[in-house]
């Protein structure tokens, strides 16, 4: 059992030492190959200009968006967003179209490109370790992290903690918590000492990016009905006009022939 109402992660890029223990933990916990872990670490190399040089590391992970684009895009509804945070994927529904990979602005979902039709090729992504968090434990990656670069907890508290940390060390951090508002908010929050763009994170608006396509989708049924009604009316109108035209032609013909007959009889 857990008291947390909205599960979330906080990643502090200044604390990560690139040890990659989280990747091993993820691999062990979820029984997946090391080259397919759901969390992955990128050394960014040395950034900045001499003499102020810094080495950065970024830990990529499903952002567990508040308005997940993968879920919005999936045609068969294989994704669900739990009220308490996690975005999960159901392989029993997946048809393998890979639209979620296109839709995700963070490029999170992976696909089994090496699986044939017998094994079945599925999507894989972070599940937020439900078997752990709902039993009062931290997710595997967080528990393993030796430097507390990854933290786990209540989303509001983590945001508060992040802002406190920025306030305490304004020289060390960029004054922004990535994921607080991006894409309508995410449940994986990031603190950084280098611009977020350098960490490979996209610049996203505060409104969910699936808003436009969802609005268009809402208009589909009314549009279809309206357009169908218009077409029915047009075809009925044209048919009636055609009939009238044909009738008047017949009348003209009859009229003419009557006149002719009259002339002949004269």
């Amino acid at each position: 059992m857990t008291d947390i109402k909205h599960h979330a992660y906080l990643f502090d890029a200044t604390r990560c030492i690139d040890c990659r223990a989280c990747m091993v933990a993820c691999s062990v916990e979820n029984n997946i190959d090391m080259d397919k872990t759901r969390i992955w670490v990128a050394g960014l190399g040395v950034t900045g200009e001499y003499p102020i040089l810094q080495r950065g590391t970024m830990v990529y992970h499903c952002m567990h968006c508040e308005h997940p684009d993968c879920m919005s895009a999936c045609p068969v509804g294989a994704y669900t967003k739990a009220e308490d945070g996690p975005v999960t994927y159901n392989p029993d529904l997946c048809i393998g179209c890979r639209y979620c990979m296109n839709a995700c602005p963070f490029g999170v979902p992976h696909f089994d490109y090496d699986k044939g039709i017998v094994d079945g090729a599925f999507i894989d992504k972070c599940t937020f370790c439900p078997q752990r968090i709902y039993n009062g434990q931290e997710p595997a990656c967080v528990q393993t992290c030796p430097t507390d670069a990854l933290e786990y907890g209540e989303r509001d508290e983590l945001i508060k903690r992040a802002h406190e940390r920025i306030a305490a060390h304004p020289d060390r951090y960029i004054d922004h918590v990535y994921g607080e508002f991006e894409n309508g908010g995410t449940s994986y929050l990031i603190l950084s000492h280098v611009p977020f763009k350098d960490l490979g994170l996209p610049e996203l608006p505060e409104t969910p990016i699936n808003e436009v396509s969802e609005k268009v989708m809402e208009m589909t049924i009314p549009f279809a009905l309206g357009w169908g009604a218009v077409l029915t009316a047009v075809s009925a109108g044209v048919a009636a006009y055609d009939k009238k035209l044909a009738l008047s032609k017949v009348e003209v013909k009859n009229g003419k022939s009557a006149e002719k007959k009259a002339e002949e009889s004269k």
Partner: protein
């Protein structure tokens, strides 16, 4: 030395069918490899590029070049412009085969091809792809109904059924036009969810409207192309006077598209990208020039509308340009997350270029479509001459055995 081999009659086939069969065989081998060892075994698709050549060519191009079917069905049945009737059946057949090709290609592209029918029962109403799936499946059924009289007329015993379908065709025609409008435009909506990936020259909230507008021009060009080619291959007459009318409509349809496209860019304030985005600007201008401006001028000249060769050339130019638009939107102008995101991972591949087997699958499926068109056109009354002949037969049959109609006591 001269080889003198006499083949049995059924083995004597022309060069074109032989080439098509070879291409299909190659595609079959590639598809087998894909089903056995996975999509990665034959394609360059990756985590960064989940959609590539297959989606751009098979789905985006395949659907748009099939738009002639609903245009002609709407013209002949809804607007009752009967003179276009000779173009109706070939267009419906092109559309029918086009959508079958789309469906077959998706069976190669999907990770779980056996679950394609899941779209019919598991609905996520916010998904654009679901709308396309449902529309394509329903429209395929509508096209089968619209085309069925051609097959039924071939068999004297089934004339009654053909007559029945012909009689109640209107609801299906209207449904077909609605479904086509929906999914032709929704292909554009597919990209609405990736504003940060698609270049601003192409990403706009009116993408669905632009897609529908250009689909009309593609449909008209496709009818010209398909009529011209089949008239050459089957050595039958060409309905130049009808094609000329379609060609006259093209500059108008393209003009509307052009105004929409540039109007949107101006309103969104993206006109600057027209000259500052390097290769993207180039691709944009290429698509506008080849697909819109040149055809508008070409088909505005009356001489070009009356000459079969000029009609064919113009149609091919238009198609190339507008298909480039589909490739731009679904592939060339799509930039997936910063390479940095993937560099240290197994995701590696950040540049996508289609492999030979990938292209071979699409070409094989396309060849099968051409082959099917040829066979159907050869053995079924698809073209005008046969049509009238059959109508006559049809009439006489009905004259001999009057069918009981309701209220005919």
């Amino acid at each position: 030395m001269k080889l003198n081999i006499t083949l049995p009659k059924f083995l004597r086939i022309g060069t074109l069918p032989l080439v098509l069969i070879l291409l299909m065989a190659i595609a079959a081998v590639v598809a087998f490899t894909r089903y056995a060892f996975g999509i990665g075994a034959i394609s360059d698709l990756s985590y960064s590029y989940p959609w590539g050549f297959w989606i751009s060519f098979d789905l985006f191009t395949g659907v748009v070049i099939s738009s002639g079917g609903f245009l002609m069905a709407g013209t002949v049945y809804i607007l009752r412009i009967k003179e276009f009737e000779p173009l109706l059946r070939p267009s419906v057949l092109t559309a029918f085969l086009g959508y079958i090709m789309v469906a077959v290609a998706l069976l190669v592209d999907l990770g779980q091809p056996l679950r394609i029918w899941y779209m019919m029962i598991h609905w996520n109403h916010t998904s654009v792809l679901l709308e396309i799936g449902i529309c394509v499946m329903s429209y395929l059924t509508v096209l089968a109904i619209e085309f069925s009289p051609v097959v039924l007329e071939r068999f004297p015993k089934l004339h009654k059924a053909a007559h029945l379908i012909h009689r109640y065709i209107m609801p299906f025609v209207i449904l077909g036009v609605v479904l086509s409008t929906l999914h032709q435009s929704s292909l554009g909506s597919l990209l609405l969810i990736q504003p940060q990936k698609l270049h601003p020259l192409w990403w706009t909230p009116i993408l669905p409207i632009l897609f529908f507008a250009s689909a009309i021009s593609v449909g008209l060009s496709m009818i010209i192309l398909e009529s011209s080619l089949s008239s050459r291959y089957f050595q039958r007459g060409l309905e130049t006077h009808l094609l000329a009318k379609l060609a006259k409509a093209l500059p108008i349809a393209l003009g509307v598209y052009l105004v929409l496209k540039f109007g949107e860019l101006a309103i969104a304030g993206d006109l600057g990208y027209l000259f500052t985005s390097g290769i993207m600007s180039l691709l944009f201008w290429a698509e506008i020039l080849i697909g819109v401006l040149i055809p508008m001028i070409w088909f505005s000249i009356e001489k070009n509308r009356t000459s079969p060769n000029a009609l064919l050339t113009g149609a091919i130019i238009t198609l190339l340009g507008l298909i480039l638009n589909r490739f731009n939107v679904s592939w060339f102008a799509v930039k997936h997350p910063d390479p940095l995101f993937y560099v240290p991972t197994f995701m590696g591949n950040v540049d996508y270029f289609p492999t030979f087997p990938e292209v071979a699958v699409s070409i094989g499926i396309f060849s099968a479509g051409i082959m099917a068109f040829g066979l159907l056109a050869k053995y079924f009354p698809v073209f005008e001459a046969e049509h009238h002949h059959v109508e006559e037969v049809h009439e006489t049959v009905h004259g001999l055995h009057p069918a009981p109609t309701p209220g005919d006591d």
